[in-house]
């Protein structure tokens, strides 16, 4: 396929309660705004709780965005937890329902998920590009906590879609956890000990979260996933399918 004229992505994020899906959508959305792009986001409002399905929707673009509300027909689907697919913890079944042709699917998983043949076929018919990113693994290894999985997913999205920039994500994470008005380096001396300690803890939190985002972004870029929109580009499922065909395995 050819690259869309003005880059314009409707991203549906699905995960489970407690993973920070909504926070991730805020960070992604604000990152694009920091980069002087346009973005709107809205979470799915219902009775959210830990381990229950959560969806959040982000529109990002280099051009004006008019639409509001949840995204029914996304061109990017991001799955934060494999249970969304394997346990059906999702508002949309199958997980790619509504995906537009030539879309992108990004799944948080260390290994390629084996989808059932119907799902494989439907995704192939839509020319969907499927990427598996080990965001939780990177979160533990780089950030020291699985809680940073969501920032790993933001990094991977940005790496694959080419927006927002790494600098904007860093700024967006900072604004999310510390707020706009505070500069990390200056002014800290004036704060009293308690605030300083709290602030130092927050600064560390911001740094670790950003490290995970950077690591996931690099993971995607090292594999050349940012070229997904080029003609004939093969994603991880394509390669696996070819390999399976060559060896006669299924």
């Amino acid at each position: 396929m050819s690259k869309p004229r003005a880059r314009r992505y409707s991203v549906r994020m699905a995960g489970i309660g407690g993973q920070g899906v909504v926070t991730a959508s805020h960070v992604l959305s604000n990152g694009v705004i920091i980069d002087k792009g346009e973005s709107t986001m809205v979470p799915f409002f219902g009775s959210e709780k830990r381990m229950a399905p959560v969806e959040s929707y982000v529109r990002i673009s280099e051009d004006s965005i008019y639409e509001i509300g949840e995204i029914i027909y996304p061109n990017v689907i991001v799955i934060f937890h494999t249970q969304v697919i394997t346990h059906g913890k999702s508002y949309t079944m199958p997980f790619y329902w509504g995906l537009k042709p030539n879309g992108v699917v990004i799944i948080n998983s260390e290994t390629d998920l084996q989808l059932n043949p119907d799902e494989e076929r439907e995704l192939r018919d839509m020319n969907a590009k499927v990427f598996h990113v080990p965001a939780s693994k990177l979160a533990v290894e780089v950030g020291g906590t699985e809680l940073a999985t969501n920032m790993g997913m933001v990094g991977a999205i940005a790496g694959i879609l080419g927006m927002p920039s790494a600098e904007a994500i860093a700024q967006s994470i900072k604004e999310r956890f510390i707020g706009k008005g505070i500069v990390v380096s200056g002014g800290t001396a004036a704060l009293d000990n308690v605030i300083e300690r709290k602030f130092a803890k927050k600064a560390e939190l911001v740094a670790k979260n950003n490290d995970v985002a950077v690591a996931a972004r690099e993971y995607a870029l090292e594999r050349g996933w940012d070229s997904w929109w080029m003609d004939g580009y093969k994603d991880s499922s394509d390669l696996r399918r070819e390999q399976a065909a060559a060896t006669g395995a299924n």
């Binding site: 959305s29 705004i33 709107t40 986001m41 809205v42 979470p43 409002f45 965005i65 008019y66 639409e67 509001i68 509300g69 949840e70 029914i72 027909y73």
Partner: protein, 379 residues
């Protein structure tokens, strides 16, 4: 230092503005900050609560003289009537079922000629109940007698309440104003809002300069509810009612010129010469703008009319702007299709109106659905 302005025109039209990326609730807060509100009264209900919480911060900062949580919506809406009768500038907000509960008091405001602003963050009112932005509740407001504005986005949720206060308090208007937006999509999502400096403030309400004098020690309450000749069945009573109701709806007509001035027209027209025209209000306008853009990419010529004011309804303006159109699509976020009925009754050759598409229970409207209705092709 807060500057209380001598003229509302400066704040509404002339003051230089700067762009901020904020939620609809925050946009409403910024409007209230500049609106010189005397008292805010509300009872919490999702998705209105966040906005009134923001207004609470304004009270804490000293921008509002008094603020309290009423016992429930009938109490709140009755208290709003009391505050407005006492001559102060009053704000309230509610959503869905809260609006329904407060309706008994709300429909009494226009007849009592009580200026105020009621923010309505639309949500489902019928069964099965939900908190999503289905806007059927607006249809109940349309016959109440007050002015009803329907905002599309965060920018409107800043501009419309200010225009509401100023218009409602004009002596030839003297009516309450409801500013509705579709909940969550506007209130909880962020968008660009152009606003003047926060140290500017509207002039205060001039309650001695309205159609009905405010109630104080020298002016008893206007006597319309307890006088025997009016309440009993007799021809004096019927005559009184006829002139009184007529006057409310005439006051609405007189509000048009002020809304025109401060909202930049009762309607906004995009691509006016297109043979296929969409007419929409609220969040359906945003979805339609995107449908127009996508249509353009596919070589379709589609126009759009945004209806900003539902009461007064811009019937004449719509009739003129739609005269050339072959087909008129009216997408709505409710089952009843109140806007398509309004449009049909206002224009000539109403069989041109395609009454739909519609989404229910607070679902957003996919632009694909609008384009499918236009092309007749399912994707």
């Amino acid at each position: 230092m807060i500057h209380v302005l001598m003229s509302s025109d400066y704040l509404m039209l002339e003051a230089p503005r700067e762009k901020e990326f904020i939620t609809g609730s925050e946009a409403a807060k910024e409007a209230i900050r500049r609106a010189n509100v005397d008292i805010a009264i509300a009872y919490p209900i999702t998705p209105q609560s966040e906005t009134m919480q923001q207004v609470g911060y304004l009270y804490a900062e000293g921008y509002i003289k008094d603020y309290y949580r009423g016992e429930e919506e009938i109490g709140v809406m009755s208290a709003v009537a009391g505050a407005s009768r006492a001559g102060v500038r009053v704000l309230t907000a509610t959503a869905g079922p809260g609006l329904m509960r407060g309706m008994e008091a709300i429909v009494s405001w226009p007849g009592a000629r009580l200026p105020s602003v009621l923010l309505v963050m639309c949500r489902v009112v019928n069964t099965p109940l939900a908190i999503q932005p289905d806007n059927v509740e607006i249809s109940y407001l349309l016959n109440a007698g007050g002015i009803v504005l329907h905002g599309e986005n965060q920018q409107d949720f800043y501009d419309f309440p200010l225009a509401g206060f100023m218009t409602g308090e004009k002596p030839e208007v003297t009516l309450p104003v409801a500013v509705a937006v579709d909940g969550f999509f506007v209130t909880h999502a962020r968008g660009w809002v152009n606003m003047p400096s926060e140290d500017l403030k509207l002039p205060p309400r001039n309650c001695y300069h309205e159609a009905v004098p405010m109630m104080d020690n020298e002016n008893p309450p206007i006597r319309i509810s307890r006088d025997a000749p009016i309440q009993k069945s007799n021809f004096i009573s019927y005559q009184m009612h006829a002139s009184w109701q007529q006057e409310i709806w005439a006051a609405q007509e007189r509000a048009k010129k002020w809304l025109d001035r401060w909202l930049g027209g009762l309607i906004e027209i995009v691509n006016p010469k297109a043979k296929t025209m969409i007419v929409a209000s609220g969040a359906a306008v945003s979805q339609s703008r995107e449908a127009v853009r996508q249509g353009e990419e596919q070589g379709l010529d589609i126009g759009l009319i945004k209806v900003k004011s539902l009461r007064p309804f811009p019937g004449k303006e719509l009739d003129e702007a739609l005269d050339h159109a072959d087909r008129i699509i009216v997408p709505e976020f409710n089952y009843i299709g109140w806007l398509s009925k309004e449009v049909k009754s206002a224009i000539k050759r109403s069989d041109r109106v395609v009454a739909g598409p519609r989404v229910f229970g607070g679902m957003t409207m996919p632009t694909e659905l609008i384009l499918e209705t236009i092309t007749g092709i399912k994707k």
